[in-house]
């Protein structure tokens, strides 16, 4: 594999209150890691007028208040940061997330198994085999895009998107996996469901994870699912890996 051109970037205009720094146009785990690194560097600078930093798959959006800083001034402050070296991040959390891959919790697992020509148990084994990184947050509150999954998961989205995907559904497409946080339409394949609320409006901090966090999944069966959910509600279940 070629090394991606990490130092090549382009500023894109997103109006007068957001600036995009684009590092590529494709899904590439290393470009994404670079985006999050630059995001951490810019965050550490604590530039007055910068409101939020939204790292996505291959670009960083800097939201700012144009009454505090002009775009020209912002660019001038950002440009020298883009070549800087920095090791990613001490506040990253490593999560262990239970998933039920059975029956009603996994409405698409048989379809996926047929189209990939591997057994459902192999899909579960592969989906739980690697520690995944949160590439970006978006689409819905608290909704993480995770990757990269093993190569067998390089499959396109469903032909017919669903109008309703239940919250806590685990979906896969294009070597990525996501967790739906609220009822919404969706076009990815649903291969499981977690009892964990990645978004809960009744929690003080409704969103569970952030870009850069690491997640590994492990299988639970459908009899365990309600018990785990009860334990989570009672705050008697740890999701964070001891390390």
């Amino acid at each position: 594999m070629n090394t991606p051109p990490r130092n090549s970037y382009r500023f894109l205009f997103a109006g007068d209150s957001a600036l995009v720094i684009q590092f590529g146009e494709t899904v590439d785990a290393r470009i994404n890691q670079h985006v999050r690194k630059i995001s951490a560097i810019v965050k550490r600078e604590d530039i007055e007028g910068v409101v939020d930093l939204v790292p996505t798959m291959r670009s960083l959006m800097i939201h700012y208040n144009p009454l505090y800083i002009s775009q020209a001034e912002l660019k001038k402050l950002i440009t020298p940061l883009l070549g800087r070296e920095f090791t990613l991040d001490d506040d990253i959390i490593r999560w262990r997330i239970p998933v039920c891959y059975e029956n009603e919790y996994a409405p698409d697992i048989e379809d996926v198994s047929r189209s990939l020509r591997v057994s459902a148990s192999e899909i579960i084994k592969q989906h739980t085999s690697v520690e995944l990184e949160v590439f970006m947050m978006g689409f819905l509150p608290g909704f993480p895009y995770l990757g990269l999954l093993p190569e067998i998961f390089d499959l396109p989205r469903r032909v017919e998107p669903r109008v309703h995907v239940p919250p806590r559904s685990i979906s896969v497409a294009a070597r990525q996996t996501t967790i739906y946080t609220i009822d919404s339409p969706g076009g990815w394949h649903l291969i499981g469901q977690t009892p964990v609320d990645f978004y809960n409006p009744n929690r003080e901090n409704p969103v569970l994870v952030k870009a850069g966090d690491k997640i590994s999944f492990f299988a639970i069966d459908r009899k365990e699912y309600p018990a785990v959910r009860r334990a989570l509600k009672a705050d008697e279940y740890s999701l964070i890996m001891d390390c």
Partner: protein, 336 residues
């Protein structure tokens, strides 16, 4: 220290200025879709700029005052409010009004403008999520129980009585009359469109469809052709972004927009024109004009000045209280 909703109106929500600092968690900004008007409404009731008010589209609520006294201001419409207290009196919008316990306020049809705000002196006593009281209905956060108001809701306020001061009115409601082209900065994905498409966009009229809500406004007009497909790897979205899905019909994104998305965005409406987007009604024809970032920054500064000037130019409004009673108590004889 509350108001009680008798008739909820249509989709009335509590909104302040949103959650701009939490987009990195996928949380939409939300907040007032015409923030300038909420600022002016807050100023009329002497609130700090950031208090939440009620955002009203088409049909307003009817509510009863449960506290001793209360000051409110309705901004964005020219429709008067009805105050029911045995008799019915009418009070104009765009000024502060002092109410007494037991009075009922009816804000009826305000469809002369896309969005109207009702501010309450002291503001609501509601919990904040991610630093904001803004209601984001889809995810059930903010406002009153994360949803639009319903009949019977008792919405708590921070104060039990209005401060002792005269009433103020807005002199000049310029924001209701702005109707030039909406100003747009090209990008971030203008390279996904042919130069013909971009020219079409700026040379044509588009009309606001009925598919218009707090998330976005779908436009109807000449189709915009993509030059290299209509799927991009999802990237960040800013309020005012004009995204063009496969249909070729543009969508302008408002406060409740998703934080990221995978359609190319041809341009972005400038910050100074965002409140105008919130005021658009279905059927309205609009045009767009391309400007530079530097020009947009200058216009925003001028707009800030205009808002501060408007607040500085508030004039005393006649108290709505019974004039005869005032004469009898000789309170205003000094001015005769």
């Amino acid at each position: 220290m509350a108001i009680k909703i008798i008739d909820p109106g249509f989709n009335v929500t509590v909104q302040d200025f949103g959650r701009p600092k939490f987009q990195h968690l996928g949380v939409p900004v939300s907040g007032a879709i015409a923030p300038t008007l909420l600022r002016l409404a807050n100023a009329l009731v002497s609130n700090a700029g950031y208090e939440a008010g009620l955002e009203i589209r088409l049909m307003g609520p009817t509510f009863e005052v449960l506290c001793d006294s209360l000051r409110i201001a309705l901004v964005g419409t020219s429709t008067p409010l009805e105050i029911i207290d045995g008799d019915i009196t009418f009070q104009p919008a765009n000024q502060s009004i002092k109410l007494k316990k037991g009075q009922i306020v009816k804000i009826g049809n305000v469809s002369d403008s896309g969005t109207t705000y009702l501010a309450f002196e002291g503001g609501f006593d509601l919990p904040k999520t991610y630093d904001s009281m803004s209601t984001y209905v889809r995810a059930g956060i903010g406002g009153y129980k994360g949803r639009p108001l319903l009949a019977g809701d008792v919405v708590p306020l921070k104060t039990n009585s209005a401060t002792d001061r005269g009433e103020l009115k807005l002199n000049d409601a310029w924001f209701l009359e702005e109707n030039g082209p909406l100003r747009v900065i090209l990008g971030p994905q203008d390279d996904y469109f042919s130069s013909n498409s971009i020219a079409t966009f700026f040379d044509s009229k588009y009309s606001v469809t009925t598919e218009a809500d707090r998330m976005g406004i779908r436009l109807d007009g000449p189709k915009l052709e993509h030059s290299k497909g209509y799927n991009i790897v999802s990237d960040g979205i800013v309020t005012g972004a004009i995204q063009v899905p496969g249909t070729g019909q543009p969508i302008m994104l408002l406060a409740d927009h998703q934080t990221t998305g995978g359609y190319p965005k041809l341009g972005t409406v400038i910050s100074a024109d965002i409140s105008r987007l919130g005021l658009l009604c279905p059927g309205t024809e609009i045009t767009f004009q391309q400007i530079t970032v530097e020009a947009a920054e200058q216009i925003l500064v001028e707009q800030e000045l205009k808002i501060h000037t408007a607040i500085g130019n508030f004039r005393p409004a006649d108290p709505w209280l019974d004039h005869q009673a005032l004469y009898n108590e000789n309170l205003i004889s000094g001015f005769m």
